[in-house]
Symmetry: C2
Subunit: 353 residues, 2 copies
């Protein structure tokens, strides 16, 4: 098989604080389009790469987390959709589409195939949606990068929603939030979302079907904003941001409220050292606050896939992606996550097929 | 009936920050030892008064809490054990012992009798234990002042303990903590407590049966202290203090750990404005953190009473009280709660019968 050039996005070195574009660089290597005999590996062509907030934690030289750091000088590892070009593994054949852990490069040799999921192409669902709406890695434990199933597991398993309850979603137009809000609406809840621009607020109200939405950057008093939208209090808060918004939400929870802590962006943020001050509300209002990873709820995955796929095909759910074109756009796309530049799930298209 | 002198402890005015002894003062009034006809009230002689951290919240001029503020110039209201001297209520007769809301004075006229519980005197259990070990007010909602049942409901209902799990209790020699630790030991758990003096640590290890205990004031690094006692991590943290200890515990929780937030002292404390910083652990370790009030679990009360009474009579549970003598000692006893002066449940003995 041919040896070809292989563009790669490489981490230059470990970082502190917010990631910058030039913490990463493009390199051009070469690759033989072949899965070596006896390796059990796959040689894949990467099509779509997922930009996820948790990846920031892997850019730090910290080994105590639930996931290992990246290796400087090596391509960044991430969730992607790819096409198999060559296989030394009986479970995969050339032409198969897969989702799972790959690298930020044009072609990857994947040895750890137990993490991969074969995708059945379906003309009515874009391939890239397997990074967002349907995103899941069934054999991956302890990872927070599957927005669709994270939204589903968090909303149904942690929040125990009841029809008519009042639901607040932060980072509501993001990869997870947009699905949480739509699931809550389908469940008969009143749903309000917060986001960081008027364009996102517009999307929430006019495209994603939220009852109300507001731009948190225009609110000088988050507590007052929440009181405006939830005069009776919040039954369920799906927290994607932590920080000051969590503190304000605590003040506005209803008795026996539930807070699902997803917080993919803010948990990795070190820009807000102020801490959380309103945890006394946990007692006075008997609130349950729970962190979760979708991987603990894998037994619900088939149910999720059926529910969300059907709802999408029936037009009851939409999904918004922010797709950039070309591997070289990946560093900027990733960095944009942390300033809220993306509108919807951030994906990089490396190649369309 | 006779008119007699009635010593009272009165709140002078609303406070901010930590309570001081002279925020209260003794007054001598008079009282007719009679329940007026048609009032439905009881005239009681107060025997034992309970000093509880939540009472501090009632000394502030803040009406948004789960309990109303005290009235300046009036005797302080609190949980107590009393003897009925006169009754205009068919459910009570002179000579009955009751527990429930009364006032910090020698004699009280109690109109709201629906909150009271009749005590069956039992020679093997001190009357004052109805403020601590067996403390409960069955008709009171939203109140955090019944140590025994709070410990029971929090440990069994919120923490879902399993035999062999590792349990950490803060303020472990306090009114709630000492029972939590003993219930955990009876349940087959490994139990470590923290307290604020070597005398308390000694009690925990040698009288209350904790596996280990430490004086948090002697630890410069709470995280390191917890790692020493819980090399495998904490499965259950029964949090009575919040603040820096909660932050350190978060770092040391096991995956799927549970935190019961009782926090009677620290939640009302405004001396630590640093906030909580390690909530990211909720996600990475999928922790459930839940506030609770014992009043949500009243259906478990008969079970509690039987379990704890039997265990006490069989010598499997002990209970430590810190009792001061005389109504005039009440202000100092109450203030001492906030500097950790009390050892065990703080009670004021007004009269023995």
């Amino acid at each position: 098989m041919a040896t070809v050039k292989n563009g790669q996005v490489v981490l230059k070195g470990y970082i502190e604080g917010a990631p910058k574009k030039d913490d990463m660089e493009m390199k051009i290597g070469t690759v033989e389009l072949k899965a070596p005999k006896g390796s059990g590996a796959l040689l894949v062509k990467n099509l779509y790469l997922s930009c996820d907030p948790y990846m920031r934690a892997r850019m730090r030289n910290f080994h105590g987390s639930y996931i290992q750091p990246f290796v400087p000088g090596q391509p960044i590892e991430g969730f992607g959709v790819a096409k198999v070009l060559d296989s030394d593994n009986p479970n995969f054949k050339p032409g198969d589409f897969i989702s799972g852990f790959t690298c930020w490069e044009e072609y990857s040799l994947i040895h750890n195939t137990s993490q991969l999921r074969k995708i059945q192409p379906d003309d009515s669902i874009p391939l890239s949606y397997h990074l967002g709406l349907l995103g899941i890695a069934p054999f991956l434990r302890n990872l927070l990068c599957m927005p669709g199933f994270t939204a589903y597991a968090g909303f149904y398993e942690i929040c125990s929603p009841k029809k008519g309850e009042c639901v607040f979603v932060s980072a509501a137009s993001g990869a997870v939030g947009q699905l949480v809000g739509q699931l809550a609406k389908l469940h008969g809840c009143y749903v309000v979302g917060s986001a960081g621009s008027s364009q996102k607020v517009d999307l929430l109200k006019n495209k994603l079907g939220f009852d109300e939405a507001f731009n948190y950057k225009e609110e000088t008093d988050l507590d007052a904003a929440l009181k405006r939208y939830f005069p009776q209090g919040i039954d369920i808060y799906f927290d994607n941001v932590g920080g000051a918004m969590l503190d304000a939400a605590l003040l506005n929870m209803q008795v026996h409220g539930r807070i699902a802590v997803c917080g993919m962006v803010s948990l990795h943020s070190y820009s807000d050292p102020k801490g959380i001050h309103n945890l006394f509300c946990l007692v006075t209002k008997r609130i349950k606050m729970q962190g979760f990873l979708q991987s603990d709820y894998m037994h619900k995955f088939p149910q999720f896939l059926e529910h969300v796929t059907d709802s999408y095909k029936q037009g009851k759910i939409v999904y918004i992606e922010d797709m950039t074109e070309g591997l070289e756009t990946a560093p900027a796309a990733f960095v944009g996550l942390f300033s809220g530049k993306n509108i919807g799930k951030q994906v990089v298209c490396v190649a369309r097929e």
